[in-house]
């Protein structure tokens, strides 16, 4: 079936990650993960650490990382998603395409966070360590989609 397309922008503080059309975008809402299709009602949602999935991307400015009609995966660490009648805008705090993720760095970040959580001393900020762990695990999970195995 021919699916309707809509405009999507994914913008990080330091760069525009994606600008173009998609048929679906999945995002990690703080209440629950959700998908947005064309014609969605105006909507505003906070996003948590997780993955954004773009289906059938066709960027208006070609990005080397985005090719063909394969779904594209992106790891984000929180943000906000806005649906307007004109399209969808996602503002993310940090974002990496699956191919860009530094797996060894995420791995060591994960181990560091786990160590900190394992031997809890009063001066350790548990919340921060848990957030770091969540980010590292998310990167590792999204990185598995690298190389177009989506």
């Amino acid at each position: 079936m021919f699916e309707k397309r809509f405009n999507l922008e994914v913008i990080a503080p330091q760069q525009v990650m994606y600008e173009g059309e998609v048929t679906t975008v999945r995002a990690p809402g703080v209440v629950a993960p959700f998908a947005v299709l064309a014609g969605h009602t105006p909507f505003l949602s906070l996003l948590e650490v997780g993955e954004i999935i773009l289906r059938d991307p066709s960027p208006s400015t070609p990005l080397p990382e985005v090719e063909g009609s394969k779904p594209q995966y992106m790891a984000i660490s929180g943000g906000i998603l806005e649906v307007l009648r004109t399209g969808v805008t996602i503002l993310v705090e940090t974002a990496e395409w699956a191919d860009e993720i530094d797996v060894s760095r995420a791995q060591s970040a994960k181990e560091r966070a786990q160590q900190r959580l394992a031997r809890q001393t009063p001066e350790i900020d548990v919340q921060r360590a848990e957030a770091a762990l969540a980010r590292a695990l998310n990167r590792l999970r999204v990185a598995q989609h690298a190389g177009g195995f989506g």
Partner: protein
């Protein structure tokens, strides 16, 4: 008139200066390109965030947030964004002068606290015994989003604990490579404006509630604003330095030309004098013999 040797010495020293200014111009040009890319890449985010905040503000009946509350101004905080190093024309002077006039115009009765970003502003205001509550030196070289977050957190605390009632920022806004403008903007309280004639806009569905989104978005908005300001100032600084050094190099070139002319004239005068002395001496000898 200066002697030949003095002129020669001046030419060689001006040439040395020219080499230095030219090298600095090239370094500034390289840094400028990077700074320009950074600010241009950061603007979409800051811009979209601003729009989002306005949309949301127009939907909220009661904009209850500690950072939006307006109070009588008894104490203000001004963030002064200058550079760490000099030789960038009137870049720092403009900011400093604007800061002082801003204080005189708007806050003559209030207690003024300064947060200095950049060594030049800090040095100036320390000497004149202004009340400096924080300084951020040498952050421009390796600018990081966390710097903006840190400054935002600081002024948020000052504001919510009612230590200050108003926060402004004075900085150089980057317009283009040849144009920077000094701006004084209000940071706190945040004043969300009405959306710009956005006819398409209608009510949102919220997830979670609009209040929770609002609570998260307002401080983030401050982060992005400060981040943009730091990047703006950095790009403007490099552009200003590039222009200043370009002018210095050109002036040196002109000076060298003038001095060369003077040197040639002095040399010619000396040669003429020597010849006339020789001729005069020869004639005197001839007369004595004859």
């Amino acid at each position: 008139m200066a002697t030949l040797r003095e002129i020669r010495r001046r030419i060689s020293s001006v040439t040395n200066i020219q080499q230095i200014t030219n090298a600095m111009r090239m370094v500034a040009a390289a840094r400028f390109r990077r700074a320009q890319e950074a600010i241009l890449a950061a603007r979409p985010y800051a811009y979209k965030f601003d729009i989002l905040l306005r949309h949301l503000a127009s939907q909220m009946e009661m904009q209850k947030h500690p950072l939006l509350e307006t109070r009588e101004i008894k104490s203000v905080c001004i963030i002064v964004v200058t550079s760490d190093r000099g030789l960038c024309g009137s870049f720092n002077n403009n900011v400093i002068r604007r800061t002082i006039s801003h204080i005189e115009d708007s806050y003559s009765d209030a207690e003024v606290n300064l947060i200095c970003v950049g060594r030049k502003g800090r040095d100036y205001f320390v000497l004149r015994h202004y009340n400096i509550i924080a300084e951020h030196i040498n952050i421009m070289r390796h600018l990081d989003y966390q710097h903006a977050v840190g400054i935002a957190a600081h002024i948020t605390t000052l504001y919510t604990e009612k230590i200050v009632d108003h926060v402004d920022v004075v900085y150089n806004n980057f317009r283009s490579a040849i144009l920077q403008e000094v701006l004084a903007e209000q940071l706190l309280p945040i004043t969300p404006q009405e959306p710009e004639g956005d006819a398409l806009f209608t009510e949102y569905l919220y997830e979670p509630t609009s209040e929770e989104i609002w609570k998260m978005i307002v401080p983030k908005h401050l982060d992005t604003q400060i981040w943009r300001i730091l990047l703006d100032s950095n790009a403007a600084e490099q552009a200003a330095r590039m222009t200043a050094m370009e002018n210095a190099t050109n002036n040196a070139e002109e000076l060298i030309k003038e001095l060369t002319l003077e040197r040639n004239r002095a040399r010619q005068t000396m040669i003429t004098r020597e010849i006339s002395e020789i001729v005069g001496g020869a004639e005197a000898l001839a007369e004595a013999r004859g």
